[in-house]
């Protein structure tokens, strides 16, 4: 019986310790800066357009092929006396969050620093009722970055 008493002492000692549970919706854990929720596109504030030029690099590199990229000529390119130096700009960009496996390869291959991993709680809380709502189009992908909530973590 000595062993049983010993295990009851262990549970008794835990009885005295402070509980470790955190009440989720009220108190959020502070996420580390390199947290990887889902990819999203970044917004270039000073010339007011997305960084992405629609070069298909991420679409080709994605293991699960969850991206669809369509590019177009950039209306406010310097040729049409606009501020931007980008000749091409993204027209429509879909990421299917239902297929994405968050492997960060798209961020690594992008040579325009246009895509980043969402490291905020809003990126994690993406539960929907219908699977097709998980397909994010361009405005949705740009929304958080446009609102300035994303500090992109860059691997040096």
């Amino acid at each position: 019986m000595k062993g049983i008493l010993k295990s009851m002492m262990v549970t008794a000692s835990t009885f005295a310790r402070k509980p470790v549970t955190r009440e989720y919706p009220e108190s959020h854990r502070e996420l580390p800066e390199r947290d990887r929720a889902f990819p999203l596109l970044l917004w270039d504030e000073d010339i007011n357009e997305p960084f992405c030029t629609g070069c298909h690099a991420c679409e080709r590199a994605c293991p699960v092929e969850c991206m669809t990229v369509i590019m177009k000529d950039n209306p406010n390119h310097t040729a049409h006396d606009g501020p931007s130096k980008r000749r091409k700009i993204i027209d429509s960009f879909y990421i299917d969050y239902g297929r994405c496996m968050r492997c960060n390869i798209c961020v690594e291959v992008c040579n325009f620093e246009a895509i980043a991993m969402n490291n905020t709680w809003q990126g994690h809380e993406t539960s929907v009722y219908d699977r097709s709502d998980l397909v994010m189009d361009l405005p949705q992908l740009l929304a958080e970055s446009k609102a300035g909530e994303i500090q992109e973590w860059v691997a040096e």
């Binding site: 092929e65 669809t68 990421i95 699977r131 097709s132 189009d137």
Partner: protein
């Protein structure tokens, strides 16, 4: 990279490669009754045996007190499209702590081979998986049911890991077809 534990430095490729330093001398002696073709793998020695006396060779390797390969590490197959299917046995000796890879090539027409469960019981499930994935039939296997594929559907001629088996088409949920309307064609 860590060097092979039996030889000191890597032997550079001198034609013909004498494989000194690897297990080849002992393996050649053990398998003298069988014609054997050695090859150098990335980490272990590879030995090719003809189809008809693979099991006999494996038995010799196991019961040879010098080599004593009592541990079947893994049994798998590689589909080389037209050259047929290679069945690969990775062996290891717990007491002697050395490794060997035995390969045999089966022509695509008759992929039939004796079962290795007579030598090691570990081969039971591994052979069932190779049978259903590559279409190789192992004669004398005690329990030839499919291992990973569903039993209730008759998939006896479906062998997914063959190169001829196509990749499933990913139904495109993105692009013009979808976005937000419910009854999109690709909707799953």
């Amino acid at each position: 990279m860590t060097t092979d534990e039996t030889n000191g430095e890597a032997v550079e490729e001198t034609p013909p490669d004498t494989f000194e330093g690897t297990l080849w001398p002992d393996v050649n002696r053990a398998l003298s009754a069988v014609d054997v073709r050695p090859e150098r793998g990335a980490l272990d020695l590879i030995v090719h045996l003809p189809r008809k006396d693979v099991i006999r060779g494996l038995g010799m390797l196991k019961h040879d007190d010098e080599l004593h390969f009592d541990y079947l590490r893994s049994l798998t197959a590689v589909d080389n499209e037209d050259e047929g299917v290679d069945v690969v046995y990775h062996l290891y000796s717990v007491s002697k702590n050395h490794n060997l890879t035995v390969k045999t090539t089966l022509a695509n027409e008759d992929k039939v081979l004796e079962t290795a469960t007579t030598v090691w019981q570990a081969a039971n499930w591994l052979e069932r998986e190779v049978a259903e994935m590559f279409g190789v039939t192992f004669n004398g296997h005690p329990d030839p049911r499919p291992l990973l594929m569903p039993e209730d559907v008759d998939l006896s001629d479906v062998h997914p890991l063959l190169k001829s088996h196509p990749f499933a088409e990913i139904d495109v949920l993105q692009g013009e077809g979808l976005g937000h309307d419910r009854d999109a064609p690709g909707d799953v």
